[in-house]
Amino acid sequence: MKLSKLFTSCAALILIVVLISGCHIDLAIKNLNAPDRARALRNPGDVEKLLVSSFKSFYYALTTYDGAGMMLTTMADYGSSSWGNSGMRDMSSEPRVAWNNDPSYVYAYALKYFWDDMYGAISSANDMLISIKDGMKFYEVSSTGDTVYNTNRNKAWAKFMQGIAYGWLSLLIDKAFLVDEDTDLEGDIPASGYKEVLDFAIKKLNDCINICSANTFTIPDDWAPQSGGGHAVIDQDRLKRLCYSYIARFTAAVARNKTERDAVDWSSVKTNAEKGIQDDFGVYNDWQIWWVSWGLQWMIADQSWMKVDYRLIGPADTSGAYDAWLATDVQQRNVFDVLSYDRRVHPAGDPHADGKYFYYTPDVFFRISRGTYHFSRYNCKKTLNVHDTGTGWVTLLSTRELDLLKAEAELRLGNAQAAADLINKTRTTIGELPAATTANVGAVTDERKWNGSLWAMLKYEKGMETVAEAFGIPLTDRRGWQELPKGTPLQFPIPGAELELLMMDNYTFGGSGEYAAPKFNIRRTVLPPRQ
């Protein structure tokens, strides 16, 4: 009996040993939900899909709730909101305050998101270009059985993405890291000033232009949906025009102040703008793949979130209420009705009826104590459809903006009539206002007004045509025209969290003085070395 028990026990022990040594448990489990780098960059089709995300990332950086779009709009006093969300209130409060670049700032995400998403766009474009450098071929078989090579198309789009992303970084941030397909990411990457960043962006856009000039192709519509909005698909010619348009825009908009804007090479701006787009560029939101929930285009159409600032719509007023508003101490300003000849504001005879671009929304839900200067009775209709349905066209760069950029160039180059003609393209047709003339050219510092000097009318027109469309451009225009309230940051620093990560000193801009960059106290945190 005992032997039997012993035998049994020994048998059991042997089995244990067998179990331990014989059963190899495979603990390597594949993540089926998302591809890794090897899988994502192995197939040409997947690398192309990565490139699709590049433009998405760029689009979201400017327009979504988390991005900088809402804050930039209130800073520029085109939109008005005293809700704290996304820095809307802080950055439009008067007196103006400096951008709080402490990573712990509750709205730090607005700048960080912009930065990260622009670099997300750049990184995905770089991956495409690296794949091409490594010899990856991109082609497809057409319906007729022919092999269509897409390598140049992809290269051109990737260069375009590098160009517009770096372009935007140069407009808003004082420095950036220049990283492209030739950069060793493990190496030391210095921060470059915004003028160098602009040069880098323009170089990439010129690279794109060169590819477009030597090749024919069509960018798939789902890479940047155009046709849903009734706009032409992007072929090599349109892409080339887009590059010229962006070069023109960036060249003018990069100026941090009036001095810099005055010094812009306006001949170059004019030349590039003339070679620019002949059809609006934007994104058709389908609510499924391309959508912007709670983005800027949504907010400025929604009366409970954001209003149209009187500094934008007020210059259309003929009643004198806007002048009275301006003459009132900022903290005492309050709502008034705009009486205008501009049919973008309201139709003839009914100041409370919907205009072509704006509509009357008398209820104001903002808090009085946050400043009644934020109050307004108007919202913008341009993106109301996107607001209501989640679908619709959102303009990123319009021919109207380009015309008005050309008009500024013409004005600065002394061609007032040409400028007036360009201004009248929208002023008389959409606004149904009397044509602008060269009777009083005025100066860049003239206050924008529907019937002021030519400069005043240009600025007025640019405001009407870029609100809720050219995200961020209102701010760059107004800083270059010296229109912003004193203390408004003229540019942003590299986000504090990024500085902290890279062990760089924190800094910021704005808040006091004549467009100064005052001292800003931020705790320095020294990051221990990575292990």
Partner: protein
């Protein structure tokens, strides 16, 4: 896994035939087991442990079993009698053919020194021989008021255990943490095991009525046995079995509980307004001076000095009664209603020689207190079967099936967000011309009617849970046994949400065109264990050694489909969704882990105790270069009171113990992988992979003293210090990398805990007993190292994670309360502390009471005060009477504003019994520890909190609207809303009267006695009384680590009656 299963099955098949043998003539052992007063103890297990032979006593305390002849060689063995709550009885007998009669008279073990625990130890071990802490919560502490979720039964009962039920919503889970935090980023929930089944989904599905006991292993010093998943501790739940009945006994129990769920909070509401009213007090007045209603957009504020320079809100006070034309409503009555709770259970149990079973079927409905919401319902069945297949082979199996539903249009939070914005004049039940509730009943607000989604948004959660366990124990010799066990847990959830066409929202929304969404997930987990144990005594040295293999795997699948814009009204089908508006999503994950361990327990004369453990553990969740890791534990204890030199018999037990152990925490499934996000026809860079990701490694030292004295008291104090290195954290990457972050081991967290428990058996008589338990905990935590930049995170981003920081501190803006906090260039004499405790600018020679004149006219409110000069020599002006933000020496206004960690917690239990009457009570308290009351903060935006109501205040106490706007601070986290979370709560009160068979026989000629075994009538009260200064509905909000009250479903009072019939 298949190979493991085949191998284990082979083992079973091989062993069974080898061991087959016939029984021959044996020894009959019988006797009677009674307590000290001669009362029979049915269900006592009388065994010869080394041969696994024995039986349980019947209703008369009589036991009888046969020892087969093959076990007999005339040797002396020990016969033991074990009954829960009594000291183990031991008798020596000699095994030889024939009969033996041995009676036992067991002495009550009030101090539970002989109570056996099985969690974290080598085989089952009496508490007195434990060298570390294993807390056992006995059946009595659970079944006096069995909760829907047994984890809730731990509240207030165990030292070092923090349990927070952050939402009162029926069917909500609990956040539980054992001792201090282990992880910063991966959660601190302990591993939960039910009858050997490792839970892979929520504990909320387990029925408290089924639970026999719970054992808690609080940290690595004890939990090392569970390896890479046990750094946060282990809760081992054991469900009831038929073995607790007397031999041959069958028991049917019908239990019905019925009662009410009642809102018990007061309305924290501002009942006044700030507008101009006409002289008759009938109407409002607008800016044109005309009488008007509340809806007039030009309603005029009652500005006390319209010609003043400041904003009108600086001179307007919310102190007017609503005009007589305005009707006001009681929103509590409109939004809440009592709910009718019921819970029905049928239990069938039987204990037969060699086998027993218990079957329970339960039905629960908990409607909660919110109008239109149907609450939570659950039906569950559990069956446990034990079978002694042979003398040396026993099989235990169990199965549990549960199905539940929950009506949840708001989730855990949400409803109170809109609720608190509603002004008193708002009729939540107002309807439009179609008889539908108004979405915007308040014309002056952009907030939605909270009743609207409650009534019209269809949203249900369904859960199914299937668990099974299997345990086969083979004991061929008295020194060796082998055990195979499996646990299976499958949980599936299904949620659907339906918006009808025309569903209203305040803002335009795609759901206005209708919407239908369905998601389905299931989690399936399997764990298997194979253990061989060696038990050997060498004279006075007893040893127990286990060799163990553990395997587990789990899978998770999630599918989502849905879309906005329905084609046809009233059709709840995905095909009814506009094809252009459909979207789908899915996720699937799999986890595997294997562990090998060896442990040994030694005790010399039950006086010197030692324990050693080594575990080698691997998990697929770690990076490919870091799959396997080693964990260990070493423990010693010295029962000083067993020494010959022990000086007093007044102290029955005095034990010193120390244990040091390690255990791990695992990362999430995705953390090791490099990921590119797929969606919307594109892929984008997500997270950078980390092949070196390893477990967070916790090391804990635990030392303690246990003592029992005067046969009535037990006391235990334990100090634990835990250092968890290699925290699993998200580490951001430079933007140009393209990947936003990676998950890495990047920090250390240290926590220390002091726990003490006192148990006093005040009265111990035959007809009367009264025991009181008290527990105390004090926890401290600190982030000692961080290999990534600090970050703001947690609820509301109110927590700042950085090196050297106290874990649990809240950060935000703080209002100046001390003169020393004023900037140096401020004239201190220009400030005064107001009745809210804030230092406010009032001007030299003035006080905070000077804002208004005694006739109610403006004196200083709305004016500016010069408080000093800036660096350029300009005057610094501040608003009169308004709080000022504190800026620290470094120029930052982001400063410490509170700490959620309590100073200490105390729990008290009382169990009184007199004949058939029993009264059970649990009092739970937290002393210190802050709560962030975001619910209150949101109301400041619309001036809806009672604080804003200035009516009835003395003229100098009144504050203008702007004062509260400043404190609202654009909803930034700030010190105004940090409140002391101290509370004392009568958590449970249960009063029962049990008529046993004898008592029932006294009625109606004994008919009841013939039919029923017992009948119990009871009354239960939960959440009856809470003493606190916290201004919210209930201080039990948020989770253990982040006590943020963000308008969740409030806790409510529950009062029920119970009838339990035993047949």
């Amino acid at each position: 896994m298949k190979r493991i299963l085949i191998a284990l099955l082979s083992l079973v098949l091989i062993l069974i035939p080898i061991l087959a043998s016939a029984q021959q003539r044996g020894l009959i052992i019988s006797g009677k087991v009674t307590d000290e007063e001669g009362n029979p103890l049915p269900g006592t297990n009388v065994t010869i442990k080394e041969y696994k032979l024995g039986a349980s006593s019947d209703e008369n305390g009589v036991y009888r079993f046969i020892v087969p002849a093959r076990f007999m060689s005339g040797q002396e063995v020990e016969l033991t009698a074990e009954f829960i709550g009594y000291h183990t009885g031991k008798e020596k007998i000699v095994l030889s053919p024939g009969t033996i009669t041995k009676d036992f008279s067991l002495k009550q073990d009030v101090l539970e020194m002989d109570a056996v625990v099985v969690t974290g130890v080598t085989k089952s071990t009496p508490k007195k021989l434990l060298p570390f802490t294993v807390k056992r919560v006995a059946e009595e502490d659970i079944q006096m008021d069995p909760k829907e979720n047994p984890i809730e039964n731990l509240q207030g009962k165990v030292a070092g255990v923090s349990v927070v039920k952050g939402s009162g919503r029926p069917g909500s889970g609990l956040d539980i943490r054992l001792r201090g935090s282990t992880n910063i980023g991966t959660g601190n929930s302990p591993l939960v095991i039910v009858d050997g089944v490792i839970l892979n989904a929520s504990q909320v599905d387990i029925d408290g009525l089924d639970v026999e006991s719970m054992e808690l292993v609080k940290g690595p010093a004890a939990a090392a046995l569970y390896g890479s998943r046990a750094a946060t501790g282990v809760i081992n739940i054991k469900t009831k079995r038929g073995s607790f009945l007397a031999q041959g006994q069958t028991r049917i129990i019908l239990r019905n509980e019925y009662g009410f769920e009642l809102p018990h909070f007061k309305p924290y509401r501002n009942e006044s307004h700030q507008y101009k009213v006409d002289p008759t007090g009938t109407y409002f007045v607008n800016t044109n001076g005309d009488s008007c209603g509340i809806e007039d957009p030009n309603l005029a504020l009652d500005d006390l000095d319209p010609s003043g320079e400041g904003l009108p809100v600086e001179r307007t006070f919310i102190d007017k009664k609503y005009p007589s034309s305005i009707k006001t409503y009681d929103h509590l009555k409109q939004f809440y209603r009592p709910g009718q709770y019921f819970r029905n259970t049928v239990t069938l149990s039987r204990n037969m020689p060699g086998s027993n079973f218990r079957l329970s079927i339960s039905n629960l409905k908990e409607p909660g207190i919110m109008k239109y919401l149907k609450g939570y319902g659950r039906q569950n069945v559990r069956i446990n079967i034990d079978n002694k297949l042979r003398d040396d082979l026993s099989l235990n199996v169990g199965a549990y099936f549960m199905t539940s539903w929950r009506h949840s249009p708001f989730g855990d939070s949400g409803p109170l967000y809109d609720f608190f914005f509603m002004a008193p004049y708002t009729n939540l039940e107002a309807e439009d011309e179609n008889g539908e509730l108004l979405i915007a009943p308040d014309p002056r607000s952009n907030q939605e009617n909270p009743l609207y989604p409650a009534k019209y948004l269809k949203d249900r959660d369904y859960r199914r849970r299937l668990m099974g366990n299997f345990n086969l124990l083979y004991s061929p010799t008295n020194w060796f046994n082998a055990e195979i066990s499996f646990g299976y847990d499958r949980s599936s959830t299904f949620n659907w949400t339906y918006y009808k066409i025309g569903y209203k929202t305040m803002l335009s929304d795609p759901t206005n065109f209708g919407g239908y969404y369905r998601n389905h997930s299931f989690t399936e987990g399997l764990n298997g264990d194979f253990t061989v144990s060696f038990l050997k005594s060498f004279k006075d040295l007893s040893t127990k050694t286990d060799l163990h293999i553990h395997y587990e795997e789990s899978q998770y699948q999630y599918t989502y489909a849905g879309g906005d814009s329905l084609i046809v009204a009233g059709v709840e089908d995905l095909s009814n969704v506009n094809p252009d508006m459909r979207y789908v999503n899915s996720t699937q994950t799999e986890v595997r882990a294997i562990g090998y361990y060896a442990s040994t327990h030694l005790d010399y004369k039950e006086k010197y105790i030692g324990s050693l453990l080594l575990r080698y553990d691997g998990s697929s969740l770690f990076g490919e270069d870091e799959r396997y890791h080693l964990y260990y534990r070493g423990s010693v204890a010295w029962r000083v009171s067993e020494e010959p030199f022990w000086f007093t018999d007044k102290i029955n037990e005095f034990k010193l113990r120390a244990s040091y152990g390690t255990a791990g925490s695992r990362p999430g499934f995705y953390d090791q992988y490099e990921t590119f996000n797929v969606g919307g026809g594109a892929i984008s860079k997500g997270r950078l992979g980390n092949s070196k990701l390893k477990p967070a490694f916790a090391r804990e030292l635990e030392v303690g003293v246990e003592m029992a004295f005067l046969d009535r008291f037990s006391f235990e104090i334990t100090y634990s210090t835990k250092d968890t290195k290699d925290q699993i954290l998200t580490v951001p990457l430079a933007g140009y990398m393209g990947y936003s972050n990676e998950v890495a081991n990047a920090g250390d967290l240290k926590s220390s805990t002091i726990e003490a428990e006192l148990q006093a058996f005040v009265i111990q008589k035959r007809d009367m007993s009264w025991s009181i338990g008290a527990n105390f905990s004090r926890i401290r935590e600190e982030i000692t190292k961080l290999d990534r930049p600090p970050w703001r995170g947690g609820a509301l981003d109110a927590f700042y994670f950085k090196e050297g920081e106290v874990h649990g501190r809240m950060y935000g803006h703080r209002w100046i309360t001390k003169y020393s906090e004023l900037p140096e260039n401020y004239n201190k004499d220009a400030f005064d502390k107001n009745d809210d405790g804030y230092l406010v600018p009032v001007g030299e020679g003035n006080t905070w009471k000077d804002g208004l004149n005694s006739d109610g006219t403006i004196k200083y409110w709305g004016t500016d005060v010069v408080v000093g000069k800036d660096a350029d020599g300009n005057d610094i002006e501040l608003d009169w009477g308004m709080p000022i933000k504190y800026v620290d020496d470094e120029g930052s206004d982001f400063v410490v504003i509170g700490n959620v960690i309590p100073d200490f917690t105390v729990g008290l239990t009382s169990n009184f019994r007199w004949k058939g009457l029993s009264i059970y009570m649990v009092i739970d308290s937290q002393i210190g520890g802050d709560i962030y009351n975001e619910t209150r903060q949101w109301t400041y935006r619309e001036y809806r909190w009672e604080t804003h109501d200035q009516r009835g205040k003395k003229y100098y106490e009144k504050k203008p609207m702007a004062y509260y706007d400043i404190l609202y601070d654009t909803n930034d986290v700030n010190s105004e809303f940090v409140e002391n979370g101290t509370y004392v709560k009568l958590r449970e009160l249960s009063i029962n009267y049990r008529f046993d068979k004898k008592a029932l026989s006294g009625f109606a000629g004994g008919i009841f006695g013939n039919i029923f075994h017992a009948i119990t009538f009871g009354v239960r009260g939960r959440n009856l009384i809470t003493l606190t200064k916290y201004s919210g509905f209930d201080p039990e909000v948020g989770n253990v680590e982040q006590r943020v009250d963000n308008y969740v479903y409030p806790h409510f009072r529950q009062i029920t009656g119970v009838v339990e019939i035993e047949l």
